[in-house]
Amino acid sequence: MLAYTLKRLLAGVVTVWFIATATFIAMHSVPGDPLMNDKAVTAEIRANLEKKYGLDKSGPEQYLIFMSNMLRGDFGISFTQQNRKVNDIIRDHFPVSATLGLLAVFFAAIGGIVWGALTAIYRNRLPDIIIMFLVILGISVPSFVFAALGQLSLVKINQLLGSSVIPVAGWGTFGHMLVPSLVLGLGTMALLTRLMRSSMLEVVNEDYIKTAKAKGLSPIRIFFKHQLRNAILPVLTVLGPQIAAITTGGFVVELVFAIPGLGRYFVQAVQQLDYTVIMGTTVFYGAFLVFMVILVDIIYGFVDPRVRLQ
């Protein structure tokens, strides 16, 4: 188990390094530079600014400075908001995005497992048909449409109830978190339901279930102890990469629901060519995703003993 974990962690670190390097190269091939937007354009001032930010050095030199700073955890200062350090921006806004994302994953996972199990139990009967229809909708309709519709329905509900019971936008209380994370998790929930369904149906035909039935175990015990546990495995495998999908989908939900998360800042930074913020956020997000995937793999290792013994 330990060797498995260490191997994955090492691979993760190498991947993060690769992400940082690739981001650096990508940023430096972008035409234009962060000083483009500044108003002071006399040559002298520009030269001074370049010197201050180290933009006058050669590419490889900048790379080394970037790397050494990054290893010390310093991502620099935002170009467009020059009184804020990138670290502060991340520290202020990432918890919001993380809460949103994790809540969405939670909803998606619970929902996916429950609905998937239900469709397998009531296979080809009415609950199955209804749920599969909703699942197909969930896979086909884009997330931003759901976000927009979600907000619209909140407005209508508030109108019906007379006052602003559920907040329509913003962040702060649990009420603010509820609908956005639900909307964010819908796509993944649909995917997981489908996966859970086919996985459950496969497991039902396995020999060990027949043995359990022959032994005389109660159906409930078979369901929870054998079917559910084995069927969850493919869902767990997919969950890691889905966290990436949820994080990227978070940008849209943050935009529509006016949530002060990191995604919104990232999109703004890209539009304004704010080097340091882009690089810092990319590397941070990349590292976060890599380690989330590793975490899920480790959990998978706990759940499925076959993996550990490789």
Partner: protein, 477 residues
């Protein structure tokens, strides 16, 4: 009946004829049905799957919509119909011909004081609010009876019936004399219901009572405008008051007056072009990469797969955006090509891995070894055995990659990182539609419907193909 009676009846029904030798000859080894190839069998299976066939029809319909549509519906998607902004889908609207607009003098009463002679505690509302002439979208002219003690009147316009003095709507203007009892409204008039309210003021405060009039202006068009928009020709003789059909917009127009149907067709071209070409390219590349890695195996395989893993680990969206900026978008370009390249560069590892897995699996199968023992060369094995067996996986991947690419393109266009305006794509149309979702839902509804239907059709088709092509992947029900 008892058992023995039953038996007897049955025995009596049997006659000698049943035991005469049959004269049909059937070879035991004869195949009674025509032999089917793998593809024919898959096609038969696919045809039995109703959902897949319906999706196939939808996909063909979309292809026709994209390719043939613009020939049948020849409206320029960039043309702005300023008379019909944000128009909901409807039958052709009619407009009345009017003269060019001239300023209205209005009505100023001569024998009524401009300033109030005495200030009243309670100022009543004006009475007899009416339109001076037929209201059109060119101008709405309203007149009312003066109020004794008024030093002026404030004019408001709302789009629904005002419920109270605080709900009068948009303040259009104020008349600053008690004897100016008319107003001409020319502010963004559309062909819908308006509720004009007048409140009298004594020059300092406004009164608390108001009078409301509902006005529904007719669509109006001048001769020069109609001429410039091609609705009439130079020689046509039209009189004022005659109606003419305006441009027909079956799906309505967007907030700039552009025909939705034409934009949807153009958007279909962009979205489907990216959605089909990009997956096609990266699946092709993935096949070569994965096939190569899988067939040769060993160290080469390990290195190639390690590199693919790195590309997978890159945060997809972030790099899509960075690629798009790196390729640079000039002011007139549409941004389709950079997005295509970015999608291809970031999407190939998934297919590569799938193909490699499939090739590895096939390599170990018994029939490969058997064919080799029988004297088959490498290229025969690849062409005759390995590639057809990977085709199933490849086709399915392709069919699922298309909706994923369409989604990604729609998503990027939605956040403004996709194709640049004015090039329409379904995603950017959704972006624009969301802004007016509450007042003009049709602007969001149609692009979203098209995206969802396309994605759904491809997904169901992919499901059907999976069941038809791969015995392992068929769902057991």
């Amino acid at each position: 009946m008892t058992d023995s009676t039953l038996l007897k009846t049955q025995l009596q029904a049997v006659s000698n004829l049943d035991f005469s030798p049959s004269d049909t000859v059937q070879s035991a080894e004869q195949i009674s049905r025509p032999s089917l190839s793998y593809w024919q069998d898959a096609w038969i299976r696919l045809k039995k799957n109703t959902r897949a066939i319906v999706s196939l029809y939808i996909v063909i319909g979309l292809a026709l919509f994209t390719l043939v549509g613009p020939i049948l519906w020849q409206v320029d998607p960039a043309l702005q119909d300023l008379n019909q902004l944000s128009q909901a889908p409807s039958l052709p609207k009619q407009a009345i011909f009017v003269e060019e607009h001239t300023r209205w003098e209005g009505i100023v009463l001569e024998n009524f004081p401009a300033e109030p002679e005495a200030f009243l505690d309670v100022l009543p509302a004006p009475t007899n609010l009416r339109t001076a002439e037929a209201a059109t979208t060119q101008a709405v002219r309203i007149v009312w009876d003066p109020v004794v003690g008024a030093g002026g009147y404030a004019v408001y316009r709302n789009q629904h019936l005002p419920e109270s003095i605080n709900d009068l709507g948009l303040p259009l203007g104020t008349k600053l004399a008690g004897n100016e009892v008319s107003y001409e409204d020319r502010l963004n008039i559309e062909g819908r219901d308006y509720y004009y309210s007048i409140v009298s003021t004594d020059g300092y405060d406004e009164s608390d009572s108001y009078i409301t009039l509902k006005v529904t202006p007719d669509l109006a068009i001048t001769k020069t405008e109609a001429l410039s928009r091609g609705l009439i020709t130079e020689e046509s003789i039209v009189a004022n008051g005659e109606t003419i059909d305006l441009e027909f917009h079956p799906f309505g127009t967007d907030y700039l007056g552009r025909d939705m149907l034409a934009r949807l067709m153009e958007g279909a071209r962009v979205s489907l072009f990216i959605g089909i070409v990009a997956p096609f390219l990266y699946v092709m590349f993935g096949i070569f990469y994965g096939g190569f890695a899988g067939y040769f195996g060993g160290n080469l395989d390990a290195i190639l797969m390690r590199f693919a893993d790195f590309v997978v680990a890159l945060p997809f969206l972030l790099f899509m955006i960075l690629f798009k900026i790196a390729f640079g978008i000039g002011p007139g370009e549409s941004g389709v090509l950079p997005m295509l390249i970015a999608l291809v560069l970031l999407g190939w590892p998934a297919t590569a891995r799938l193909v490699r897995g499939q090739v590895l699996q096939i390599r170990t199968q018994g029939y490969i070894e058997a064919a080799r023992l029988l004297g088959a060369k490498d290229h025969y094995l690849i062409i005759r055995h390995i590639i057809p067996n990977t085709m199933g996986v490849i086709l399915v991947t392709l069919t699922f990659a298309v909706p994923a690419a369409i989604f990604t393109e729609a998503f990027l266009s939605f956040i403004g990182m996709g194709v640049a305006p004015p090039t329409p794509s379904w995603g950017s149309m959704c972006n624009e539609g969301v802004k007016t979702m509450l007042s003009h839902p049709h602007e969001l509804f149609f692009p979203a419907l098209f995206i969802s239907t396309t994605v759904l059709a491809f997904n169901l088709l992919g499901d059907g193909l999976t069941e038809a092509l791969d015995s392992r992947m068929r769902s057991r029900e």
